[in-house]
Symmetry: C2
Subunit: 247 residues, 2 copies
DNA sequence: GCAAAAGTGTTTATGATACACCCATGC
DNA sequence: GCATGGGTGTATCATAAACACTTTTGC
């Protein structure tokens, strides 16, 4: 038992983990798969877990849990995420604290929410997740969520969109070598609107941080696209000189 | 005494309150004041309190304190701010949670930090603050701060600048009726660089949300400037249609 | 040869920047 | 009348937007 002179709230770290579905237009062979790829509309997805225990037993919720007293907030977020879903090594940034007094029926619980992005191309094992009771949901097919997790998720989505306009966060979703088409589909998935291919490519290449490689994608049923990489060092150098990414 | 089955951290809400110095080029008479106003360089300032108690007794710190168990996070921030400084009725938004395990020597303390802006034109009484031990500091004349409050302050300043580029947050510092010169000085104070007067005014008026009034400022020792107001409703309507403020 | 997606340029419109002088007022 | 800040316009440049066809590859 732990005793204090003043009342203390419980504090959790919860994660809103975004991924992309249709995650396998592979840069490595993938024989036998029969993706029609007639449409390349990718979709943002979110990682949820199904709760075992009350409150909200059986309901879906954001992965997360109580922080330990000797642990940093983001370490707690990563630890809980891995324990509950098996997902690790991903982009993670703090989103906001949620602390309405009655948001948990058990006791006062303050949640530090994190926004995370998992690269399902390079961690395909994560796509399934280790956990029986975890799953990916498209944003327009979400189940009802426990606690105020719908509010947290909406906040995370708004932040993802806003952040995406100001920083090249899109590449967190993509493999190290990607096609411009993938970038464009991702932009369209995040912003929810289509863009002109020629203008998009022109602007992207004009930044100078997207480097064309002497390689093309493999095993596609049509002309193979050239691969590119994101030059993060160069981007950060430019940014520190005052350059502003704008998508 | 309060007892729990698992350890709980303490949680505080602390505020980084920004203001503007040289706060009295008045829209109402101010006889007897002898402001040279030879320069109109305004400066961002921050509201700090001097701690009575250990740890860090005597050091300056951000105003704030422990949240109550039945109180919303932002309500706690407002309450503590008013208790400690007398400042109320101000713009307030959540900044981030700070929770390094050893940031407070007493026990594990997680701080939900808030970014606040006080309008010293319309709440001039707040300029002094009710509290003996509170004071405004220019950003380049800060004392050493308690805990990790320097980190929090830096984070707040970065957020203020970034937010200022994306939303018309500047008007939180200004009175309902302001001159374009005031807006420009404020922009320069926040962004730390000078801008061209003609281009600035052109762009500001082109937004359609800055409305010229049939009034001029009073009691200035030179030609009086026209007053304007910010049409917040119109701004919000435009924004909801997809318009993006950009400073 | 056909289906599917890759790749490519020009024109136009819009917004950003650079730049200097006269005006109104208080003293 | 002079000092102080208020107020104004145009030309240039850079970026964004609109727009459609040819090429490559696998089947």
């Amino acid at each position: 038992m732990f005793t204090y002179r003043y009342p203390h709230p419980a504090v959790t770290a919860d994660c809103v983990v975004f991924g992309l579905d249709e995650a396998c237009p592979p840069t490595v062979p993938d024989p036998g798969s029969r993706r029609g790829s007639d449409t390349d509309a990718r979709e943002l997805t979110v990682l949820l877990i199904q709760r075992d225990l009350d409150p909200y037993a059986g309901a879906w919720a954001l992965p997360g849990g109580f922080i330990r007293l000797d642990e940093d907030l983001d370490a707690a977020a990563r630890r809980e995420l891995e324990e509950e879903t098996g997902v690790r090594d991903l982009y993670l940034e703090q989103l906001a604290a949620f602390g309405a007094p009655d948001r948990d029926p058990r006791e006062r619980v303050i949640t530090i929410a994190y926004l995370a992005i998992v690269n399902l191309f390079e961690h395909p094992v994560a796509a399934a997740t280790d956990a029986r009771n975890a799953g990916w949901f498209a944003l327009d097919e979400l189940p009802r969520l426990a606690f105020d997790h719908e509010l947290i998720l909406e906040t995370a989505l708004a932040r993802l969109r806003s952040k995406h306009r100001e920083e090249p966060i899109a590449f967190e979703f993509l493999p190290a070598k990607f096609t411009l088409r993938q970038v464009q589909s991702l932009y369209e998935a995040i912003q929810g609107e289509r863009v002109d291919k020629r203008n998009f490519r022109k602007k992207l290449l004009a930044t100078g941080v997207i480097i064309p490689l002497d390689e093309v994608e493999m095993d596609v049923a049509h002309r193979a696209a050239q691969l590119h990489r994101f030059d993060r060092e160069r981007y950060e150098a430019l940014r520190d000189e005052g350059y502003r990414w704008n998508a």
